[in-house]
């Protein structure tokens, strides 16, 4: 069972994943908090959201996060998929969720999620991770603080080098 790591103000910690990711061909389990595909969300979303459970969606790289706009305020989690760690579209998806669509719920990295990409993921607004490389919360906490400075603004709101007291 892959473990879920969540970002905290102090670093990162392992947490229990209360969501069940439901494949399109499977039935929705009664009373469970679920993550469904964008296709299913569009088809059954209203019914699900009115059924009293927490609902999340999983976005694939080719899917446009803008399509989630109508659902976002009621979604508990958006899982953004990395089919391969080299597929960088997920970084744009997360960035747009945070910056353009104003989503403040959990943005979870799923799929081929490696600790080497932790820094980039954090900066693009991911705050939860299901690592595929066996890394643990302390690995992710370390990766989060590896660089003392960043040169550009991003979804994490970190102060870029040009606005640091030493430079501005």
């Amino acid at each position: 069972m892959p473990s879920l790591i969540k970002l905290t103000p102090a670093g990162a910690e392992p947490v229990e994943d209360r969501f069940v990711t439901v494949l399109d061909e499977d039935a929705i389990p009664q009373g469970a908090d679920v993550i469904v595909s964008l296709i299913r969300l569009k088809a059954d979303g209203e019914a699900l959201l009115n059924s009293g459970v927490s609902v999340g969606v999983q976005i694939e790289p080719a899917e446009a996060v803008e399509d989630l706009a109508a659902f976002l305020p009621r979604l508990s989690v958006v899982a953004v998929a990395f089919p391969k760690f080299r597929d960088g579209r997920a970084y744009t998806s997360a960035t747009l969720l945070r910056e353009r669509l104003g989503y403040s719920g959990e943005v979870r990295a799923v799929g081929d999620v490696l600790r080497e990409q932790a820094g980039f993921m954090l900066r693009c607004g991911f705050d939860a991770f299901v690592p595929a490389d066996g890394s643990n919360a302390s690995d992710w906490a370390k990766a989060a603080h590896r660089h003392r400075h960043v040169y550009q603004t991003a979804a994490d709101g970190r102060v870029p080098a040009y606005a640091e007291p030493g430079r501005a």
Binding site: F85, R86, D87, G88, R89, Y91, T92, T95, E99, R100, L114, E116, Q117, G119, F120, M121, L122, R123, C124, D133, R146, H147, R148, H149, V150, Y151, Q152, T153, A154, A161, Y162, A163, E164, G166, R167, A168
Partner: protein, 552 residues
């Protein structure tokens, strides 16, 4: 030179530490080669035929004396005593051991150098004009904008796993010395009628299997909006560039598939949604970067130096060197000196450690501490007093660095080819040498005039053959090295893609074919036309006829 502050230095130190940790984990087997590959590539480390190759970034081709000396030291300590300057103004070392790389990166960081993003599917080192700050042709110093791009693109969280590599060139002169039109994004800085600085933004240029000249997607972008506009371009590309086929993943394929107009429309639509206050650099930071370029202390000199004029009149070798390798400086009494790395028996772009040290010494003594790298694989001493030209010429000549052939037939761009590269089909270096051998007579080379020959050992086109006045492409024919010639390419402001001459030639027929092409040109040329101009006027037929009449 841009002067690093404490923040810039700490960024390099942190990056170096991160990579050291990754190398340890790779050597311990905790990272697979597949997982390690993109990490090492983003630090410029390739696995080649014989060893690892480390490509060190030389941002916009500018080096100071300490940096050149450090490169010489690395060549001696960790390589076989030389380095190879590339067509993107970088330097690469071909004989590197993986376990040495963290120490090399630390040694580089001590002099504000690094190998960040010299490879991988990310935004690569920015190319700019090697004459920046020295030429009167420019409307502004392109290095200021190049440095802004360097910082913005360094470890960019959203754009480090693009569909494919991404190269940006910045020029501020009408005469393009950056090959801007064959970059993923080419930026040409201009002033409009109101005097406001702006960029002509070109996108979708490139070489490789499917060469394209970049399309202008914005005629005059207000200069201070540069970073938000680049963000829009990169976001459209990151979302919609192809990822299913490595050969169709560059932005040129997306721009061609959508059409330049539709691509421009998508970029514009994305740009309008970006918060400028977040994405563009504040005015104060641009001013800080500008001020961090310490201006060299140019003296007020007479425009003409009697001593220099006398030396040139008395010394025909100096006169020839000046005709071919020396250009006008913006300041009276100064000159820009091109240092040729194309001696006739040399590997184009190679410099050994001794030569690098000679260059460093000359820069320290005669060029206000600055050295530049050109995309045509030569070096530049940008601020030399006319009075010092004789001394500089003699010192360069003693080190084998004064070949008077800039832009001439033997000033050849060549990729490392099959001698080093795992991708190559054919050798490039011996072909370049065999051509250069035919033009040893400097009288003949000068008579031929500007003629840019560019050689690639495979279709990936690292030797820029598509934009050679004469291009040479190595191909594999049933296990034998053959060479496909193209004519009429240009990577400059008059950019064009070369057209195929005819069937590929055997290795020993390439240099004779170049001889024939030159003979046809000399026969047909009018009023001081360059080879390229004659070709454009007459078309392919006379050249093709002559080469294949001889070959058969």
């Amino acid at each position: 030179m841009y002067r690093y502050d404490a923040i810039d230095k700490e960024v390099l130190a942190d990056r170096s530490n991160e990579f050291r940790n990754q190398v340890v984990r790779r050597l311990a087997g905790e990272l697979t080669e597949d997982q390690f590959k993109p990490l090492r590539l983003m630090n410029g480390l390739y696995l080649q035929l014989h060893a690892y190759m480390l490509r060190v970034a030389i941002p916009y081709g500018a080096l100071n004396v300490a940096q050149v000396r450090r490169l010489a030291w690395i060549a001696r300590t960790y390589d076989k005593g030389y380095g190879h300057f590339t067509t993107r103004q970088n330097i690469q070392f071909h004989w590197i051991k993986l376990r040495d790389t963290p120490d090399i990166l630390d040694a580089l960081a001590q002099v504000d150098l690094h190998a960040i993003q010299t490879s991988g599917n990310c935004i690569r080192n920015v190319t700019s004009d090697p004459r920046a700050g020295a030429t009167a042709e420019e409307v502004d110093d392109p290095r200021v904008w190049s440095e802004a791009i360097r910082q913005w693109s360094t470890l960019h969280p959203e754009f480090s796993y693009l569909p494919r590599k991404f190269k940006i060139a910045v020029t501020a002169s009408a005469k393009d010395r950056t090959a801007a039109k064959v970059h993923d994004v080419g930026l040409v800085l201009r002033r409009n009628r109101d005097g406001a600085l702006g960029f002509e933004v070109m996108a979708g240029g490139g070489m490789g299997r499917t060469p394209y000249i970049g399309s202008t997607i914005r005629a005059h972008l207000p200069a201070e909006r540069l970073l938000s506009y680049l963000e829009a371009i990169l976001r459209v590309y990151n979302r919609h560039g192809r990822r299913d086929n490595i050969y169709k993943a560059r932005i040129k394929i997306l721009v061609a598939a959508l059409g330049a107009e539709e691509f421009a429309r998508q970029v514009e639509a994305e740009w309008l949604q970006i918060d400028a206050a977040r994405a563009d650099l504040p005015e104060g930071e641009l001013a800080r970067i500008r001020a961090a370029f310490v201006q060299p202390g140019l003296e007020a000199l007479e425009p003409v130096s009697a001593a220099y004029e006398a030396a040139r009149a008395a010394n025909s070798a100096l006169a020839r060197f000046v005709r071919n390798n020396v250009s006008a400086h913006k300041a009276p009494g100064y000159a820009i000196v091109d240092v040729s790395l194309k001696a006739h028996d040399a590997t184009p772009g190679d410099a050994n450690a001794d030569q690098l040290e000679v260059i460093a010494d000359l820069a320290e003594r005669y060029s206000l501490g600055e050295v530049r790298v050109t995309h045509e694989q030569n070096l530049v001493l940008p601020h030399v007093k006319q009075d010092d030209l004789l001394a500089v010429f003699e010192a360069l000549a003693a080190a084998g660095l004064a070949t008077p052939n800039i832009n001439l037939v033997s000033d050849i761009i060549a990729c490392p080819g099959l001698d080093y590269c795992a991708l190559a089909n054919a050798r490039a270096i011996p072909v370049a040498q065999s051509i250069a051998q035919r033009f040893l007579d400097p009288e003949l080379a000068e008579k031929v005039g500007e003629l840019k020959i560019k050689i690639s050992g495979c279709i990936n086109a690292c030797g820029h053959h598509h934009v050679g006045h004469i291009g040479v492409l190595g191909v594999d024919k049933k296990g034998e090295e053959f060479y496909q010639l193209t004519l009429g390419g240009s990577g400059a402001e008059d950019a064009s893609i070369g057209q195929m001459l005819g069937p590929a030639l055997a290795a020993d027929q390439v240099a004779p074919a170049i001889d024939t092409l030159v003979a046809v040109y000399l026969d047909l040329r009018q009023d001081g036309e360059r080879f390229l101009d004659t070709y454009r006027r007459t078309g392919m037929a006379p050249f093709k006829e002559a080469v294949y009449a001889v070959a058969h």
